[in-house]
Amino acid sequence: TFEGKPKWQTNKLTYRILNYTPDMSVAEVDTSMEKALQVWAKVTPLKFTRIYSGTADIMISFGTRYHGDAYPFDGPQGTLAHAFAPSLAIGGDAHFDDDEFFTFRSSKGFVLFLVAAHEFGHSLGLSHSNVRGALMFPTYSFTDPNHFSLPSDDIRGIQSLYGPNRDRTPIQPDPEVPTTPNACDPNLILDAVTTLRGETMFFKDSFFWRRSPSRSVTQLPIKRFWLNAPNNIDAAYEDPVQDKLFFFKGRQVWAFNGINLVPGYPKTLSSFGLPSSVRKVSAAVHVKSSGKTLLFIDKVYYSYDARAKKMDRRYPQRVESGFSEMTGAVTAAHISNGYIYLYSGTNVYEFGLYSKKYLRELKNNFFLPC
């Protein structure tokens, strides 16, 4: 919240759309604004009523450069919009920079619904969050408006001002709203880990942490990157030769080229030559030098020859027979700097990639900022 915790003293608020962007139809703008306000109405007792004349609590307008307040816009890119905390006069008002290209739902432009939902957070009394993935994080990040759900950090923030929405059952927080995984949680068990074009991705529930070679880490919803990917994946790996990323969930496997689903996917696990008795893959990792993909099913693993497109003979083997000291079920795996990391519950075990010699035990968040 802002300093002094400014908030509206009534739960019945009005809004008025003063003008429109030429980028979208009037109906699209109206829908985007209505939907953005409902993001907050769903989790609080707040009710919003549109008015068409006079002064509303939240006056919505599009403008460029100097547009009548002390915060001029800066042309394309940079600042997209701003809004004022609850108070009289300009308080609550939301201004959108019309030098930007706003869209209804396309990623080729700024989705007005997402920008407006963020701004209305300010209009209601929220300041910026430093939680990546939160709606109130200061930078724009595309997500499909049809798959949007308010992150828990934002729910906590707005409910600290207005309380929950008691009209809705079940009582908030909505169980459908994903909670942001915490890298500092000592009980964190990652779903999957993979490299992707030099970066490393760590998956948990509907989110992933993206770690760049410079070690900067950002947390994002999975759907924000891969619209067609499932949440709560079981395993993932990258085949850099094919430039494909594979996700496993249950008996299905998805392949992506960058962020795009490869035609023909999802396929079943049998496309890897796995027997029909295998219900899910718990971890996967691809060794580029050998062209082998190791597919872990708890305490055993298979070796898939990606070049010959068939399963190697003499598998499955017990994980312990290939990786000494690894007695638990493997829950995730990835390769980094000549080491192979096998995750088991809250621990990570480091092995030499070629020697397969056990080197050390680490905590699950070793690669994550905590």
Partner: protein, 82 residues
């Protein structure tokens, strides 16, 4: 290889960013202006790096610059806003 230094354009972008979102102010006392401005810039840079969870160095590194170039909301992150 040589360590790349931020360009004048990057430095100007950073200064504008910190003025907009971290309440970096112009120093008017001319006798000590340069030194005070440099100290304030470093402190505001640290404030920003802390907010975004970056390594806090007070220096304009690649990660900090990348964040400054992202499209964002015009409301300041930590500064007073009225």
């Amino acid at each position: 290889g040589p360590i790349s230094q931020p360009s004048d354009k990057d430095e100007a972008t950073a200064e504008h960013y910190l003025k907009s979102f971290y309440n970096l102010t112009d120093v008017t006392d001319e006798t000590t202006a340069v030194r005070r401005e440099a100290i304030q810039l470093t402190e505001k840079m640290k404030e920003m790096q802390k907010f975004f969870g970056f390594k806090v160095t007070g220096k304009l590194d690649k990660e900090t610059m990348e964040m400054m170039k992202k499209p964002r909301c015009g409301v300041p992150d930590v500064a007073a806003y009225s």
